[in-house]
Subunit: 287 residues, 2 copies
DNA sequence: GCCGTGTGATACCCGAGAGGTATCACAGCG
DNA sequence: CGCTGTGATACCTCTCGGGTATCACACGGC
């Protein structure tokens, strides 16, 4: 028996997340006893203790940590399989098979490149239909992994390309975006050190999976909000140079001498082999 | 219901492989009717036709192709989860948790580098135990994917690094290895064109997943066999330069001017985060 | 035309096992 | 010492995965 049912995996992950059988069972929509039993069976079949239950709570063993990690990846892979299969079969009237790709892009970023890409690809013969899926900050990896997207535009060093295939499309410097009437806006060039602790201009903090990094700056979760706060002289931020296209009159962009370069890549799951995807990548790398 | 049980996935993959319900059922060790029913249920739940059954055999629809592809990846991921969990828990006596890594290496290749790596790593404080797993030609990717190995030494362009994280360890030229007494052995340099159709020295063909590429040369499946055939003046082959360490007196190695460079990488699944693995990679990249 | 043959689908039955409820065992705590 | 909150156990139910027997249908040979 080296089989591991998806259901068991879901159960284990719920327990490992909650570290509490009752809450995990509730989250799964079942009662607690069957869940306890299922986990025991799983441990027996694997021949491994996954959880230490010592009154006062549950904790993961080393093997449990491994299964949580690997199991998450496996579960993502199966939900991805379901999603992509459904998408492939949706419009699958025989004969009328129109390919469709879902492209994940960080919401509001890189309009210019995206426009060019979509136009160029649409002009290709036999181009598939591209659905652009706006994603939250740094959520593209997750979307590729769980099948909500087929391909994504990612930005190093913010996104990690680990586990995907990718082609680099462009590289650019970063600029500080600050209120036009602030003294620093007159500078030709700034360094990270110079902007990291300006008392009246704390760096804005972006939402990431619903939580915000610590710091003094205001919490923002979309670009418009951020633009407004900058225009009001309340905050500043750092962006890739191409952000210049959406700046307001009240904004100023000053190049940063020592900020890491930002590269834009088109990335896709390593095992993808679809014709439509190959075409899109080819188009992108010719831009 | 967007769930997909591992069992259903196994069943579908068997049918998609065999394109025949009877044989697939036999391979799965169940009877044919339950298999038919399971696939029907699967199609109904996904809301997608996966197979075209038109008397005279079964064929995959577009959606079926996608599920085959994605499902294989998902199934590999779950068997990997099981294998790695079992490994992590095997010696998991509480308190005596000794890490263990399985390193896949192409059998017989790169002894020199491997020796150095293992020695250097063993000297590290808190080093895990490394089990070296000899793998067939170009089988390392598969072993990483299905969890038989945790980390691998790979050789581009023969292995694909797609889907893994990796660090390059060395790059080298390739050499033609031929009988010392053959006229070509006296040359300073050779080109691929010159060696590709020498009538009395056809290139040897390596087994790959049990099958051999077509061609006139002899079929070999291990290095000793190959060495012997070359010594006998019956064949020749192309190898990375570091192969020089195992050459016999009867062999000659002549650099190739236009063969692709071979890079050795240490590679691991992108989601791995173990301390032991990080240590091994750090050691390797310092060599 | 008709009848064997091979295919997948259908009908029906049975038993394992997933899930429910009630309860236990035990650690902490006032 | 009982109360509370935790996971484990006991036991019941009934779904559903799997088996056997059979059907429906397309082919090929005659």
């Amino acid at each position: 028996m080296d089989t591991l049912e998806t259901r068991e995996l879901r159960y284990f992950i719920a327990v490992a997340d909650e570290l509490h059988f009752g809450r995990a069972a509730e989250r799964l929509g079942i009662a607690q006893p069957p869940l306890s039993r299922a986990i025991q069976q799983l441990e027996r079949r694997l021949g491994v203790t996954l959880l230490d239950r010592d009154r006062r709570g549950v904790s993961l063993t080393g093997a449990g940590e491994v299964l949580l990690q690997e199991g998450r990846a496996a579960l993502d892979a199966t939900t991805a399989a379901v999603r992509r299969t459904r998408r492939a079969g949706g419009a699958d009237g025989p004969g009328d098979h129109r390919d469709r790709l879902v492209l994940a892009v960080k919401a509001g970023a890189f309009h210019e490149l995206l426009d060019k890409l979509l136009d160029a690809y649409a002009a290709e013969p036999g181009a598939a239909e591209i659905e652009v899926l706006p994603s939250g900050t740094c959520e593209q990896e997750e979307m590729l992994r769980d099948g909500r997207a087929d391909v994504a535009l990612m930005h190093t060093p913010f996104n990690s390309l680990a586990g995907f295939e990718s082609v680099e499309l462009m590289t650019e410097r970063q600029v500080a975006i600050l209120p036009a009437r602030h003294p620093l806006a007159a500078r030709e060039m700034l360094s990270l050190a110079e902007i990291s602790d300006v008392p009246d201009l704390p760096l804005a903090r972006w939402a990431r999976h619903g939580t915000y990094p610590p710091g003094p700056g205001p919490e923002v979760h979309d670009q418009t909000q951020l633009a407004q706060l900058i225009a009001l002289g309340r905050t500043m931020t750092v962006f890739p140079e191409s952000a210049r296209t959406w700046l307001w009159d009240e904004h100023a962009a000053v190049p940063l001498s020592d900020a890491p370069l930002v590269s834009t890549h088109i990335a896709w799951p390593a095992h993808s082999r679809s014709r439509a995807l190959a075409g899109l990548v080819r188009t992108a790398s010719r831009l």
